[in-house]
Symmetry: none
Amino acid sequence: MDIHQITRELHSKNESKIVMLVADGLGGLPIEPNGKTELETAKTPNLDALAARGVQGASIPVAPGISPGSGPGHLGLFGYDPLKYVIGRGALEATGIGFELQKGDVAIRCNFCTLDADGNISDRRAGRIPTEESAPLAIKLREVKIPGIEIFVEPVKEHRFVVVFRGEGLGGNVRDTDPQATGVPPLDPVATDDASKKTSDVAKHFLVQARAILANQPKANFHTMRGFAAKPDLPTYEEVYGLRAAAIAVYPMYKGLARLVGMKIEGEAQTLDEQIDVLEKCWNDYDFFFIHFKYTDSTGEDGDFNGKVQRTEQFDAMIPRVNALAPDVTIVTGDHSTPSFLKSHSWHPVPTLLVSNCCRPDSCQQFSETECIRGGLGQFEAKYLMTLALSNAGRLGKYGA
Amino acid sequence: MDIHQITRELHSKNESKIVMLVADGLGGLPIEPNGKTELETAKTPNLDALAARGVQGASIPVAPGISPGSGPGHLGLFGYDPLKYVIGRGALEATGIGFELQKGDVAIRCNFCTLDADGNISDRRAGRIPTEESAPLAIKLREVKIPGIEIFVEPVKEHRFVVVFRGEGLGGNVRDTDPQATGVPPLDPVATDDASKKTSDVAKHFLVQARAILANQPKANFHTMRGFAAKPDLPTYEEVYGLRAAAIAVYPMYKGLARLVGMKIEGEAQTLDEQIDVLEKCWNDYDFFFIHFKYTDSTGEDGDFNGKVQRTEQFDAMIPRVNALAPDVTIVTGDHSTPSFLKSHSWHPVPTLLVSNCCRPDSCQQFSETECIRGGLGQFEAKYLMTLALSNAGRLGKYGA
């Protein structure tokens, strides 16, 4: 059962405002026995005040024990079942560099590689060629022309770039050409279904021309193609929730993920303060606001416990400006945990709080991993956060008579 | 969505060791108002110490309110959705007596019965004929020969025995021949799908020969066939988790269940101490160890509250020897509750704890039904225990980018 079947049917519109504040990688771990997590160590008077007024819970991004990437993590928060909706690797990479995929596009992650005189791969990453050398090569590949197909080639970083094919009848199911080994030639792109035959043909033509263009390059004389992916077909926030939604993010990846569900990207903020400036500015134009804060994740990934504590406190300090706008529903959560102890995304449930005038407050007085366990939302799948948001905003009618 | 689709894709291997200690029927009930459960009454200093270091939760074997048998209870713990994977009655009975089913086998539970002069059933259990009389009769039925089919007849207890057909093209969907009434003749075995037609033919031939062989027996002059079941087609631990798994159990049923998911049966232990001897001996040969302790269930089934308390203390006393091996992940759980108050398996959630260096400890200091409710694992479906185990062992990669 897709919960969107219910929300499509039952949502209604009103003047309410919903703010979803996402501190990426919010959940953490203690770094010593009986110690506190980053969030428990941080001084967070504003989050604690919200916790006292609101209801708390531990959200499970995908399923118990599953550590999500940014894609599934955010799809869950947005109410899209991350086990049903999958964003292919190529589409995510394109999204991450700010490329606006259109319906029917196929995106491909490409790696520059080095071929020896026999045409076998001698280096799958072209010696991790520096970006300043690889970007001009990627741009040179824009010379490739294939009739009836619009082609985009976008540099990413070092040996990585993205190719997007735009045209009619392009399926996204084509095998990688990277043989995952050296001393062998790259593989041909092979379609794994009939709807992707045209895509594999286009890819073959692309590779022939690319080989000619790169032939005399010393390091990067060819490239592989991986993670072929059509633009994922996600219904929009307007369709499933009746919400005009804005995303206020700094990094292209999160703008891109929001765009995939039909949010409008607002502002060009570079700091959290600027994000709140944007929020204030567009307050009257939307019903729902997704605000993304990256640094609780990046400090966690770096294993920087104190850094994550400080970033959490920075996040906390922004809360009063959000409160001043008096949202009808305020949600604070993360797309997954990123404990600095593990230096990676993890499976641990994410402290999540929701405040509204009808949220049935629990007895929790602090916002933390320990408190959220005994909160009124219990442990719940992140994909239900949006139905909770809509109901608390008075936007979701009764199911059945 | 089958979680094994994810674990197949994302598991990796490392040097970690996972130990799953299963106290069968672990959960209980108080026998008087405001009383304690068996586990709460027992002195369990070692389990409590694990609880203080680890994370606790209440696992739901199948679904809230559903009391599982041993089959579904263990499938859940092993990470196999017990609502998707069903072990047919015949297959479970064969497993329970230590018969090693092979792919394509069909197992059938048989009851000796008594027919009157008209061929109607006068006693569906042949007067609960004692084992010492019935076992020779079951062995006599090994005289039955059917071309192209290998036949196994195995005594069980009293009127019960097991027949297994081995051959090509044998489906497992055939109706019981027991009419569930006396004064009527046994039914014919009727296939309920085309793939089982050959099985019903073989069963008919078997019954004709069996009737002749048993004709002059005073009590047990015929038998019925029930619970036809093909060997369940379960993917192995190696396939879905990449784990080399060992089962260290005393009773054939639990060895058999473990064998169905590809665990290797280690040792011939008769006591818990001998089971830990085996664990120590094979420690270097496996990644995962399932250790089964029967007596918390059997004392519960007997309604023996104090006996279950003592058996729980015996289970607790073994913990230091496991700790001494320093597993990376230690899990303590049960396959279901068996409250001595009910003298039966029950639906109540099962206290479950998990200890690892990254398990996000909760505030619980004791291992009990009351504490586990407020533990960090919350209430969770048992089928997720294995994804949690893999993640805590660093054996499960990120889902999506």
